[in-house]
Each structure stands twice: as C-alpha cells, then as structure tokens.
C-alpha cells in the first residue's frame, strides 16, 4: 500500500491509526472473552485472526490494497485486529507443553484465515 501522492499520505496514516485503534481493541476484547470462557486467550487470538482475514479479503476485493478505504479497513482495522506477535508467543507456549499443537494451531489459523479471505478474493 504505497501512497498515491505525498498529499494523501498523512490522511491515509490517520485513517490507518483510527482503524487500528478499533481493531486492536477488538482483538483485546476477543482475548478477554476467550480468557473468561476458555481460561485462555488463545481462542480469542484465533478468532481475531480469522475474522481479520475475512475483513481484509473484503477490503482487498473492494479497493485492492490502496486508497483510503483500504487504509482504514484493510491496513488499519484488519491489520491490527490480526496479529503475528501474539500468535508467535502462543506457538512458543504450546511447544513447551503440547508439541503437536504448536504446529497444528498456526496451520489451522492459516487454513481457516485463507478460507475467510477466500470468501471475497481468489
């Protein structure tokens, strides 16, 4: 997502920030609910990543990775709703306890996330 011109760069970044504030808070909320229901934030991370892939797929099909629409919904909201950093730490946790889930969990997230994005693209 490159800015079309210097004049659009700042508004695009502001839209990214606004979308991401909401996306990050939504992910945290999923983690809180998941922690309460399942005693682990992991299902919340999974759900956040899959929903984000669907949202990003929709945004990609509409705006193709550019413009203000992609900035707020794709790069901002879906970008921050999804995460690799928490996922990587959860994989590390799993590898210390239940070894096969350390592989199965990220693979399942990739397959389900691709399916969610595939509802709108490809």
């Amino acid at each position: 997502m490159l800015p079309e011109s210097p004049a659009t760069a700042l508004p695009a970044l502001l839209l990214v920030a606004a979308g991401a504030a909401l996306g990050g808070a939504t992910r945290y909320w999923f983690g809180e609910i998941s922690g309460r229901v399942a005693c682990s934030a992991l299902p919340g991370t999974f759900f956040a990543n899959v929903v984000a892939c669907g949202v990003a797929g929709l945004a990609w099909s509409l705006w193709g990775g550019g413009g203000f629409g992609w900035a707020v919904l794709g790069a901002g909201y879906a970008g921050a709703l999804s995460t690799w950093s928490t996922l990587a730490r959860e994989i590390g946790e799993l590898s210390r306890t239940r070894s096969w889930w350390a592989v199965g969990y990220p693979v399942l997230t990739i397959i389900t996330g691709s399916a969610a994005a595939g509802l709108f693209i490809g």
């Binding site: 997502m1 490159l2 800015p3 695009a12 970044l13 990214v16 920030a17 606004a18 979308g19 991401a20 504030a21 909401l22 996306g23 990050g24 808070a25 992910r27 945290y28 909320w29 983690g31 990543n49 984000a52 892939c53 949202v55 990003a56 797929g57 990609w60 990775g65 900035a71 794709g74 790069a75 901002g76 879906a78 970008g79 921050a80 709703l81 999804s82 995460t83 690799w84 950093s85 928490t86 996922l87 990587a88 730490r89 994989i91 590390g92 590898s95 350390a102 990220p106 693979v107 997230t109 990739i110 996330g113 691709s114 994005a117 693209i121 490809g122």
Partner: protein, 118 residues
C-alpha cells in the same frame, strides 16, 4: 478500561509504523516479503518486551500498550494471508514456511536475549 485505551493507542501507533515500514521496504522487497520482515521484527520485539516485563513489575503495567497494542498492531496476520493470493504457489509456500518458522523463532530469541542470566 485503562487496558483497552492502552491497547487502542498502541495498536494505532504500531499499525502506522507498519504502514511506514511497508512504504520503505516494499520497493526493495515487494509487499509480501516486506510483510514477512515486519512480522519477524515484531515477533522478535515482543519476545524482548515480554522478557523485560517479566523482570520488572513496574514496566509490566505498560504491557497492554507495548504487547497487544504496539506490537499486536505492528504485526499482521491478515495482510500476510491476503498477499499470498498474488503470489505463485511456490513463492506463497516459501512465504508461509519462512513466516511459520521465523516468527516463533524470533519471539523466542528476543526473550532469550533479555532473560539470559548475566
């Protein structure tokens, strides 16, 4: 509510940094590989952050801003998935394997780097 505010503010800053890093890296690496690089860097950073926070309760108060906020917003799973669509099958496989291998490794290395006994 404090945690939500910190996560939202951190995520906004992290996502803006991700987009800026993408603008810098995409002409060199392309969109998909710059996303791989961003995710690996973010995972290394969350390892460092987690290691530091575990050592200091005072710093741990800011975990929602740094961990799920800044680094959660900086790294992205959705762009990683969406960008696979534009790649050849072979390159997509490389991107998936590289990310799957390097992200957990980077998080582990980051944590090791700051928690190793002096």
């Amino acid at each position: 509510m404090r945690a939500y505010g910190l996560v939202a503010a951190g995520s906004a800053a992290g996502a803006v940094l991700r987009v800026l890093a993408g603008w810098l890296a995409a002409p060199l690496l392309g969109d998909a590989w710059s996303t791989v690089a961003i995710n690996v860097i973010g995972c290394f950073a969350i390892g460092i952050a987690a290691g530091l926070m575990m050592a200091s309760p005072a710093v741990a108060r800011w975990w929602p801003f740094v961990g799920p906020g800044l680094l959660g917003g900086f790294t992205t799973f959705s762009a990683f998935i969406v960008l696979l669509d534009g790649l050849s099958e072979l390159e997509a496989a490389f991107v998936v394997v590289a990310t799957l291998g390097l992200c957990p490794l980077a998080a582990w290395l980051g944590e090791k780097a700051v928690t190793r006994a002096p």
